[in-house]
């Protein structure tokens, strides 16, 4: 049976279960707000009862800095070492790891990743600006809605496939942003 496992990476990975929330928070840490127009300063996994599941795991945070301000027009991000070109990020430094596994050895094509409003995959999330990149990309993608999704690299036949994602988000206005889901789609055979 094919299965997805989403993980917030860190010193110790934190599995994001179905009832958990991947929380993009401010620089103050868990449950602190991100300033309007700024990007996430920390990232956490919040349980359905409000507990910080990633506390103690030193979770990774990937913060968008610029779309084309780096070397040769590369995007820039801060993943804890200051501003760097996006393509310098290592897989272990990406905040999000999505594992797809199947008992049989399958190849993966046409994988995409995007944010949407939680109701209609083609519709952008409400009240936030979301960008994402796959490890190795030179620029961020404004991955808002399935029509603007981040394209992930095809993978040859194996029983386990990892996708390392750099996600970053900024609120467009004050308030809780919960019309906001993240989705992966892929083809396997």
């Amino acid at each position: 049976m094919a299965t997805f496992i989403w993980t917030l990476q860190g010193t110790t990975p934190t599995t994001i279960d179905a009832t958990d929330i991947l929380q993009f928070a401010g620089t103050g840490g868990f449950d602190t707000p991100v300033v309007v127009g700024a990007f996430n300063g920390t990232t956490h996994v919040k349980s359905s009862v409000g507990v910080d599941d990633s506390s103690g795991n030193t979770p990774r945070n990937n913060k968008f800095i610029s779309q084309a301000g780096g070397t040769s027009g590369h995007s820039q991000a801060d993943w804890g070492d200051g501003t760097e070109d996006l393509d310098a990020i290592l897989s272990a430094e990406c905040a999000l790891k999505i594992n797809f596994s199947d008992a049989a050895s399958v190849s993966i094509t046409n994988a995409i990743f995007y944010a949407y409003d939680g109701a209609t995959p083609a519709t952008a999330p409400t009240g936030v600006t979301f960008v994402a990149a796959e490890q190795g990309d030179i620029n961020f993608t404004a991955a808002e809605g399935s029509g603007s999704a981040l394209t992930l690299t095809d993978q040859s036949a194996a029983t386990s496939h990892d996708f390392f994602i750099v996600p970053s988000v900024s609120p467009d206005s004050a308030g809780l942003k919960d019309s906001f889901s993240l989705r992966i789609e892929l083809t396997y055979s």
């Binding site: 179905a18 906001f180 889901s181 993240l182 992966i184 396997y188």
Partner: protein, 133 residues
């Protein structure tokens, strides 16, 4: 509930079924579809028809490239030039569908000019859709 599986008829007269014989799903081994592709490469055979089926007796057929259809309308219908099968899976976090895994088994036929016909069957509900692309 029985999952949708593929059935392929080949130009060399063979009809092969996912889940049967050499095309059972084996942990750690190439998927049945990947093994079928290897078999095609080794034998030079091509797929002349592709269907999805369940052990419970359901069946979804793509238009065939065979030469002996039962009805005249099928004789005149354009025939696919190639076939493939894949599974499409989606998964969300955050929001109302968090944790939900959508899985479809898809049979795909390609025609000259790049047009395609696909049959999508939901693995859980058996609901199906035909898509022209």
């Amino acid at each position: 509930m029985n999952k949708p599986l593929w059935s392929a008829s080949l130009s060399n007269g063979e009809t092969l079924y996912e889940g049967k014989g050499n095309y059972r799903r084996l942990p750690g081994k190439l998927s049945p579809w990947e093994r079928l592709l290897q078999h095609l490469q080794n034998t030079g055979a091509t797929i002349t028809s592709l269907s999805l089926y369940t052990d419970g007796g359901l069946r979804w057929n793509l238009p065939s490239a065979g030469k002996n259809p039962h009805f005249h309308e099928f004789t005149n219908a354009k025939k696919p030039i190639s076939y493939k099968m894949f599974r499409k899976m989606g998964n969300d976090i955050l929001g109302k569908d968090a944790g939900k895994e959508d899985l479809y088994t898809v049979a795909h036929a390609e025609y000259e000019g790049g047009h395609t016909v696909e049959i999508w069957v939901n693995d859980d509900t058996r609901a199906s859709w035909s898509v022209l692309l």
